[in-house]
């Protein structure tokens, strides 16, 4: 039996077509594999560099809380205890950290401890005041140089001049390791502290809270304005040249480089309106301007996707235009709008350039408590740390990137959840 499809030429063509199919499939597979490989490489580098930042090095130190050094009496009030001479106690403890240290040795030894040790001793004492006139074994934070040496991030087989710890300090280091007084502990500072000049004390709490305040500002400004603008443009605005112009320019606005928004914030918000510099309020306002087009575009697309029959049904029931929009179209458009909003917020979270312009790059060593307080933001914190010379900040940078990625993944997870939760069939 022969028909026209068994013709020689047609069979040839069919083979060619299926070969093209297979080829295209292979290209797609290769592209996907390359993409995944790059992603995994990136994540692997970040995680392998950053995970050590969640550990800090502590040194076991014998601290003698004798009342002469502290200059307090056993029945001192809390206020007197706070004023006690803890730095002297620390000095003595460090001088006796190892036996038979010379004056020069003590100076070197002091540099192996974090400057936070005074405070740690003080806090320990205030919590247990009955230890007066006893000697306690305290785990105090080591200096970042010791920390990096223990973690193996700093090389020791190089010239003394190029090392942070000199030969004598390395001897101390080895002695501490040998006697088991150098320990690794969970680095709570990374999660509870704001930025610091000392890598062992620097944390992301300040920039995290700053980013949170900034995002709240973005959401509160951009979400209502974006939804209002979308509903007006989509449902109420007359279709003429002017609204067309607005529509084109909203799309253009979405493509404007973020640094331009930063300059706008600097020129208008800070210089003309006198917003407080370096604050989540001004950062959030600038980022809200940047996020608006994203939200408007997402919201309008979702409004467009609502079947017109729903609106017609409502209008035919005698609903006013506003009722038809708010009772039927907006609820149906909400999942898509929320997804768009969260994507916009995620974009805003990672944005650095505009924040630099409005001064959020300042070194802020405390955790902000309000919208009008100077604060840092996560991406800017990463930028600040990556610029720092100390080796200890390298792992902080990677760890901060990990935190921002986790933050982003969480936000995207919320977006996916909202979409599946509120998506309705019609």
């Amino acid at each position: 039996m022969s028909n026209q499809f068994s013709h020689e030429k047609i069979i040839q063509l069919r083979k060619k077509r299926s070969a093209a199919d297979r080829r295209f499939k292979t290209y797609g597979l290769i592209a996907t594999v390359i993409g995944m490989a790059i992603l995994f490489f990136l994540l692997f580098t970040i995680f392998s560099k950053g995970y050590s930042s969640f550990q800090k090095t502590v040194i076991e130190l014998d601290v003698t809380f004798d009342q002469e050094t502290l200059k307090i009496t056993p029945n001192a009030t809390y206020e007197e205890q706070v004023e006690a001479k803890f730095f002297k106690v620390k000095k003595k403890a460090i001088a006796n950290a190892l036996p038979d240290l010379s004056k020069k040795d003590i100076k070197l030894m002091k540099k192996m401890f974090s400057i936070n040790v005074d405070k740690e001793i003080k806090e320990y004492f205030l919590q247990n005041p009955n230890i007066l006139n006893t000697t306690q074994k305290l785990l105090v934070t080591a200096h970042s140089d010791v920390d990096q040496m223990l973690k193996g991030n700093a090389k020791r087989n190089i010239e003394e001049k190029k090392r942070k710890l000199n030969d004598r300090q390395l001897e101390f280091f080895d002695e501490f390791v040998f006697t088991g007084r150098l320990k690794s502990k969970f680095n709570n500072f990374f999660f509870t502290n704001a930025d610091s000049r000392h890598p062992e004390l620097a944390g992301i709490a300040g920039s995290f809270v700053g980013s949170l305040f900034t995002l709240i500002t973005v959401f509160l400004l951009a979400f209502p304005i974006g939804i209002g603008a979308s509903i007006y443009l989509e449902e109420f605005a007359p279709k003429n040249k002017f609204t067309e112009l607005i529509e084109v320019n909203i799309a253009n606005l979405a493509a404007v480089p973020s640094i331009v928004f930063g300059l706008l914030g600097l020129g208008i918000l800070l210089n003309v309106f006198g917003f407080p510099r370096s604050t989540p309020l001004v950062g959030g306002t600038v980022l809200a301007l940047m996020t608006l087009p994203t939200i408007i575009i997402a919201c309008r697309a979702s409004l467009k996707a609502v079947p017109p029959s729903i609106k017609e049904g409502a209008l035919a029931m005698g609903a006013s235009k506003m009722q038809a929009v708010f009772h039927h179209q907006v609820p149906l458009a909400l999942p898509g709008t929320l997804t768009g909003t969260i994507i916009g917020l995620a974009q805003a979270l990672g944005e650095t350039a505009p924040l630099i312009m409005i001064g959020m790059i300042a070194f802020i060593p405390n955790i902000p408590t309000g919208f009008t307080e100077p604060s840092a933001a996560l991406p800017v914190q990463i930028y600040l740390w990556v610029e720092s010379a100390e080796r200890g900040f390298q792992e902080k940078t990677a760890a901060a990137i990990m935190m921002i990625l986790i933050f982003l993944f969480l936000m995207n997870a919320i977006a996916v959840f909202l979409r599946s939760r509120f998506e309705r069939k019609w």
Partner: protein, 253 residues
Amino acid sequence: MNNVKVSTKNVNVHYGTKQALHRVTLDINEKEVTALIGPSGCGKSTFLRCINRMNDLIDICKVDGSITVDNEEIISDEVDVVSLRSKIGMVFQKPNPFPKSIFDNVAYGPTIHGIVETKTDLEEIVHLSLKRSGLFKEVKDRLHEPGTSLSGGQQQRLCIARAIAVNPDIILMDEPCSALDPIATATIEELIDELKNKYTIVIVTHSMQQAARVSQRTGFFHLGELVETGETQKIFTNPENEKTQGYITGRFG
């Protein structure tokens, strides 16, 4: 002979520069079913949508001429379309229940127009409307399930229940059975027959059999013109116009 409920005189409709309806003059009687038939694109749906001003939704659509409902002119900017539409219900070609519960679908009209005071009143209206549309028995145990979970025919009856819940005078039906199977169609046709005792019904249909079965009067549209109108029986047995004759005997359309 029943009173005239809707009267149109010289209605012209333009979509931009294209004229869709040419000088349509038609009277629609109270508590009767008037069927509008004709080939696709002849303007019968456009005409139907003039009666409740749904053409307002289309920016480029311009309607002129005169349409009166209960002797009141409705082609005028002063007319309140919200109150007009509360008097004129509409059922669409494709069932379009709101993505809400069955109860909320029917309760929507009474709620927005504020014609109920208490929850019990609202429930009463919803139940009554569902009973009138013959849906109550089928859905009484699942009033809070989404309206979209019903079958196509049930959805269409839900839309009818939704329309009659505000107690309109007129119900416009735009090919209400075109998306339904023959059994669902038969149910809807029976329903239309019952509803005509209480409401004035205008139905656009593609099916001449349907027009013959449910309507008392029929208008035949062709190329934007109302070619012939009269009692259904007369139109289908002894039409005056050649085109009508041609259409109903299946020679074109």
